[in-house]
């Protein structure tokens, strides 16, 4: 299980750049990113290399940010993972890819999901 940062941002030019600039200026590397938007605002989901520090600097910049548990799997395992989770009655809320080889999944029950996946021989990755 890994931690994702979820950041509330206004949907305006420059807001995302501002967020990434803050991280970059603290030498925090973004490993994966997904954006969900609804009109005037959105949520940016990030996997970073130094999560604790990222949380601190973003809060210091008055951003609404929090942590969420997500699961990373190999892209090769995707279809069997989705099938396994469906069979276990676990819902996938959203997903996005990471470096063309891995997929980040947000499910409604991470503990059960990891159990089901490992039962099917699918490994949940660490970052």
């Amino acid at each position: 299980m890994i931690k994702q940062l979820s950041v509330f941002l206004e949907n305006r030019p420059g807001r995302l750049a501002n967020l990434l600039n803050i991280l970059e200026s603290h030498n925090i590397k973004v490993l994966a990113m997904g954006i969900a938007e609804a009109g005037n605002y959105g949520i940016v989901r990030l996997i970073v290399d130094r999560k604790g520090e990222a949380l601190e600097v973003l809060r210091g910049a008055n951003m609404a940010v929090n942590e969420t548990n997500v699961i990373a799997i190999n892209l090769n395992d995707l279809s069997s993972a989705v099938r396994t989770l469906g069979d276990a009655n676990i819902n996938i809320d959203y997903a996005y890819t990471m470096d063309c080889q891995r997929v980040i999944l947000k499910v409604n029950n991470e503990v059960e999901a990891i159990k089901a996946l490992s039962g099917a021989g699918i490994k949940a990755l660490e970052v």
């Binding site: 206004e10 949520i43 989901r45 609404a64």
Partner: protein, 429 residues
């Protein structure tokens, strides 16, 4: 301090006696009121009781402007010892003139206000209202001094210094606008202080802008032990016209100095206690610039039931808004306080907001910009969409018009150190 703990019948008797004095006084001395009486065929001798007041025309802000600067002064100019002025957004400011006795009364009324909120001579009172032409600072300053408390005349601005004074001098009573109170609390936290632990604020005296029960809750959670509403305006001396006692269920109006009526702002008809309308005040003790039936443009409700604190002075409800702050949107009256009330009880948004009205074609549109609070925990867009929809539904229920809610990032809306700049009206009419 003279006693103000009179019975209801003593109060009414005193009011009628002072009203008779006032009517004769202005008829003899004020060319403005003398002309008013004569033009309307009113015999000053015929005004005997509060009920007779209804026959006298209202005095309005326009009357003060038209007679700028000193046309409504009743006393001899040689008796005037002080001027204050309130800023006019257009044209002339409003000038008010005080005799020595007026300044005395003003101090006395503010001392009473502090006393019924539980302030004692042992308290350290930081006055963070503006000093100068604005009456807020000096009014509470005099009150605290009259009560025998220790006064810190901090005035407005310089938030860091305000917090330092509070900490180093052990301030126990803070007097400022409620929005500045919230701002001070927020600034204290930014400096690593927990106001409830690191400061000793017992009582907050908050006025000069309308606020809500939810703001009280926030102020009491984050800043002071007990937050009290104070009411006043420079035309009526300044702060100290009415104040919340320890029961915090309405503001006692000092009825031995002021007669309050509530009217329908459109028809001028006097309403019954319990009905919402514009507050009209007659000053029965002022000498310099007494006013008969002055239209305050503040909307409230009169409550003449006895208060549990034992005072018989009638109470007004919190100011619900001003007749001229009142936004008319598609013909419907909207008060910012109504919007504030909803935003403040909603989890996930901060107490800071902005109302923007514009016009598309012939249709007015209301947009409410609200800050998502920093600790709003979600990674799901649906939670935000639900929050927005919930706010829009509640606004629609309360205001009877549709408002678009726009969620913005924390601390993005302008903070004001004085009266909050919360309304932007972009309609070109």
């Amino acid at each position: 301090m003279c006693t103000y703990k009179l019975s209801k019948s003593e109060l009414v008797e005193l009011q009628n006696k002072r009203l008779r004095w006032l009517v004769k006084y202005v008829f003899d001395r004020s060319p403005f009121y003398r002309r008013r009486f004569i033009e309307n065929g009113i015999d000053p001798e015929s005004i005997r009781t509060k009920e007779d007041l209804r026959r006298i025309p209202f005095t309005t802000k326009t009357d003060l402007r038209d007679n700028y600067p000193l046309g409504l002064v009743s006393s001899d100019l040689s008796q005037i010892v002080r001027f204050h002025a309130s800023s006019g957004t257009t044209g002339n400011p409003t000038v008010v003139a005080y005799t020595k006795q007026d300044v005395e009364s003003w101090a006395e009324l503010n001392a009473r206000c502090l006393e019924i909120a539980g302030v004692t001579p042992k308290d350290v009172v930081q006055v963070s209202y503006g000093y100068g032409l604005f009456t807020g600072g000096l009014g509470l300053h005099y009150g605290a001094e009259r009560l025998g408390a220790k006064v810190i005349p901090a005035s407005t601005g310089n938030t860091k210094r305000q917090l330092k004074l509070m900490k180093d001098l052990g301030t126990t009573v803070i007097c400022c606008t409620p929005s500045y109170g919230l701002f001070l609390a927020e600034s204290a936290r930014d400096e690593g202080l927990d106001p409830k632990r690191d400061l000793k604020l017992r009582v907050g005296v908050f006025g000069a802008e309308p606020w809500s029960e939810n703001t009280r809750r926030r102020l009491e959670e984050q800043f002071v032990e007990s937050a009290h509403d104070i009411y006043g305006m420079s035309e009526l001396n300044g702060p100290g016209v009415a104040m919340e006692c320890v029961m915090k269920d309405g503001l006692h109006v000092w009825e031995d100095h002021y007669i309050v009526e509530i009217i329908d702002p459109n028809t001028g008809e006097v309403l019954e206690p319990g009905e919402k309308g514009e507050m009209v005040v007659t000053t029965i003790m002022k000498e310099g610039m007494p006013l008969l039936r002055y239209r305050t443009r503040d909307i409230t409700i009169l409550d003449d039931e006895p208060c549990e604190c034992g005072l018989s002075h009638a109470r007004i409800k919190r100011i619900l808004g001003r007749t001229d702050d009142m936004l008319k949107i598609r013909g419907i009256c909207v008060f910012p306080s109504q919007v504030e009330e909803i935003l403040m009880k909603t989890e996930g948004v901060s107490p800071h907001y902005q109302l923007i009205v514009d016009r598309e074609g012939v249709m007015d549109r209301l947009m409410v910009r609200v800050e998502v609070s920093e600790d709003f925990k979600t990674d799901r867009l649906t939670d935000l969409v639900n929050l927005q929809q919930k706010l829009e539904e509640e606004l629609k229920d309360t205001l009877s018009i549709h408002a678009v809610v726009e969620l913005v990032e924390p601390k993005k809306l302008p903070r004001s150190e004085g009266k909050a700049q919360r309304i932007i009206d972009m309609r070109k009419i």
